[in-house]
Amino acid sequence: MPEIIAGTYELLNKIGAGGGGVVYLANHMRLGKKVVLKADKRKITTRPEILRREVDALKDLNHTYIPQVYDFFIEGDTVYTVIDYIDGESMDKPLKRNERFTQPQVIKWAIQLLEALCYLHNPVHGTPPRGIVHSDIKPANIMLTTQNDIRLIDFNIALALGEENVVGLSAGYASPEHYGLDFSTDTTFTNGTNSKSYTKKETVKGNLKEDKTETMADLTATMDKEKVIMSMKPSEMSNSSTSLKRIVIPDARSDIYSLGATLYHFLSGKRPAKRALDVVPLSEKEFSPLIVKIISKAMNPNPDLRYQTAEEMLYDFTHLRENDPRTKKRKKIFIGMSIAFSVVIVSSTFISFVGLKRMEALQKALTFAEASQNALQSENKELAVKCALEALPEENLFTPKYTSQAKKALADSLGLYDLSDGYKISHMLEIPSEVFKIKLSPSGKTGAVVYSFSLALFDTETGKITDELPIVKSALSDVKFIDDNTIVYAGEEGITMYDNKEHKKIWTGKPATHIAVSADGQTVAGIYRDDDFAVIYDCKGNEKSIVSFNGSKQRVAENDTFADPMDNIMALNKNGQYLAVSFENGGLRIFDTTNPENDIELYDESEFNHFEGGFNGDYFAFSATKEGLSAFDVIDIAKLEEVGGFNLDSKIGVKADENGIFLSNKSTVVALEPLSGKQTELAYADSYVKCFSSDNGNTIAVTEKNEYLFYDSSADLITRHNEGQTEYSFVDIAGDCAVVTGRDTPNIKILHKKSYEDKSICSYDKSYAYEEARVNEAEERLMLFSINGFRIYDFDNNLIKEVSIPDPQKIYDQQYSKKSGNLAVIYKDAFRLYSGITGECLFEKTDLKSVTYANYGVSILDSENNLQLIDLDTAEILESGKAKGDYALYCGFIADKDFLGDSQVIGASKTSKGYVFASVNNNICTVYDGEKRKKCEIPISDKWEAFFTDNAIILSPLHGTPIVYDLNSGKKIAELEKDAYLTYVTQIDDYIISQYVSSTKDKYAVLLSKDTFEPLAYLPSLTDISEGELVFDYHKGELRKIRIYPINELINIAKEGDNY
């Protein structure tokens, strides 16, 4: 019959017994639940707080790994405590059976125990809230459940944190503090172990008692000097024999030590040494270093160097993977590699981005450079400069160096290297629609352009529109300048006089399209479209009279938007008395505005359908044109007689005003003296003249080729513009300004006459026929030469000497020596050297076997095979010697048949690096230096001429493109001008100047970059280079000189805008 305790607990069996009492497995009869019934062996006379210790400790606890207490009662003389039944066994049992636990198992239990400790130590239990120290953690007090989890049991000697009371001492598990030892001032335990005591490696064996808790009461009698009764008073402590002995209150760190010792036992299977100082650390070979480290730290004799809280230790257990050195090492590698990859990718992406941006910038620069060249071809200089500037952005990381194309575009668009006199485009004015008519003021400072349907006045200096005025909606709308500041135009409200200086209307009359103004500016006449009358005004806008045409009308198209205002004559004579008007029926009449009875009828009716002309003094000059016939007549109004005239089968253009009578026919423009009939040529073009204008000796003529040509008072062509696309219909010239435009374009070109006389360095007689003009280095003499002879001028423009050269047809080459000004005339079998100062012949030799020019002298080989090198400047013999064969030259040594064999020398030079020459044999050009060393070989396939710079050889074929090769490697560097013959190559500082003769015999040069041979500027009419400056010859009787502008200076000039 089972024993029943307190009428509730049915004792099932005894599951343990010890010094503290007996433990039973019981059945809670009412709950039907198995519980543990602990019967305390102590007498009930023991202090109740000691008897209730476990209950008091457990009653407020609720944790997975801590058993729950259910009841506490006294029956008979025995105190019973009822707690959770844990199905399993205490951990000391498997240890006693020498069972070993795996590391993962121990880690799992450690975490569970630490969770329990964290809970216990947390100061939240009971009233007032407090933390609890277990004080007796050891394998025997840890239950292993059948689920392989643990439970922390036996809270008999548990203390509230800070409580000074009975302490359990389990040898090997109890912390030094339990023994009253205080190592907290000893800092030698930094690594969690005691190095001092490992000499005495003592493991706990038989000297330790069984895993039995001894209370202070039990120990009082047996305690040695290392043991301190926790209840000792401080006064008693001072008498202790060792300084380590202190009154020490166990705290959470003591539990941590015990837990460390317990885990130590679990892992090693050995109970830790009783003395903390004697504990042998776990082997890092046997266990993970991190585990060894944690346990060593937990068991540090110095509590200050242990984990201070269970949380810290729990953290280390739960972060084993993260804190493992292998993880850390991998993490370092990962971070390092990630940073390295990121840095490389970011860097290379940035470099790639920079490359892309630079390529884009380069492409943009090339596009703008091309646009600039196109704009220049279209004669839109402003746009060309603007585009060139865009092609030259400031250099930075994302922008490459200035391209040669851009540099050339800017140099060409600025036109600084064009020193020829003539009309140069200064502005391109764009208006909203195509042009109907354009006029310049008498001085050329103001222009007026009629378009649909406004009149724009513009300043020719700035190229800006100053006024825009509405006009009659007709292409016939007219505008006339009275003076620079006053115009009369076909205003929307009627014929209007306008002050363009004050920007206000002066007067407005009746509607008019055709307008005539007398030369004295006092009379104005207006006709509206095809009205049969004209209204005559005085200069103040008063109507003076109305001239009736008796029903006749001017030629006006039905849709006068497309009418040609140039088909009709409407002109007033100088004082405004006579008004000449042509009619659609071919009639032409001169009306006397003061007396209709004096009207003059030139044609009552005719088949002529186009009239041109006007008044010049007393003369009225006109042409009447019909298909296949153009009649020109000059009428003396005063004498009422015809003073001259003629008929031609092609159109005669006539402009007559107080400046003169000007005629054009076919390709000629002339000025006519009416009385004598004398014609003075103004322009002679190479194709038919479509329209022209002449003022003060300057003439502009537009030809059928769409060229517009400027001629000076001598009828010399001074400027030729050939844009080629626009069909020009309207031109006007006044003062130094000219305007050109067409019916089909909204663009107006404004040109100004420019003169560069200030750049002149010397003059000559332009009638002398010559091929080349050169000046010597000292700038004392100018030489004009051709194969026929030469002239020498000094710089005071005096002719010093004119010399004819003998046997001109046999001349093979002519070379000018810059230094002395001497002229070398080279024949196949003779050589003559003429002085550039006096013109005398300094050296002459004939019957030669060979003559070879080089910049350091001329090598001549006579019939006796004597080779001489003649100095071009002094005519002295620099070198001489015997040579073999029929050809030889001196080039640092005598290169004769022995050296050359069948090779042919195509060029020799002395550069800053010494002699160099090129010879050709079997289509291979071989370059040698003056030491007979071969520098490079270049395959060629034509007859070539060689030019040299310090670092390059330029091979120029007779027909084809000159090619530049590296002098040392023979590698191709660049190609030069196509379709032109290279005549000279000169090196100046950082530039190379290549001079050419084009297929049209024009001479020009190209400024090249010294290193890349890329073109930097086009240099038309360059004839020489003097003192590092460019000398131009336009065959106008003087040479002009200008320096080479560095690119930054060109940019500044372009940005300043108005200075070019």
Partner: protein, 56 residues
């Protein structure tokens, strides 16, 4: 003098090579990580995540 084309295409080439290297590295790295985790599982076992208890 390095041309802009070399900068651009060279940069792209380095990018591609680096990206490929990075991919290979990370693949190898993660394989290593998996291997290490297996090793850790043997050495440390499965470490439970600790939930913070609410204050009582």
């Amino acid at each position: 003098m390095i041309s802009d084309e070399i900068l651009f295409y060279g940069g792209i080439a380095v990018d591609i090579i680096t990206a490929a290297s990075a991919i290979i590295f990370f693949v190898i790295f993660y394989i290593g990580k998996i291997k290490l985790n297996i090793k850790f599982d043997k050495e440390y076992g499965e470490i439970p995540k600790i939930k913070k208890r609410k204050k009582e």
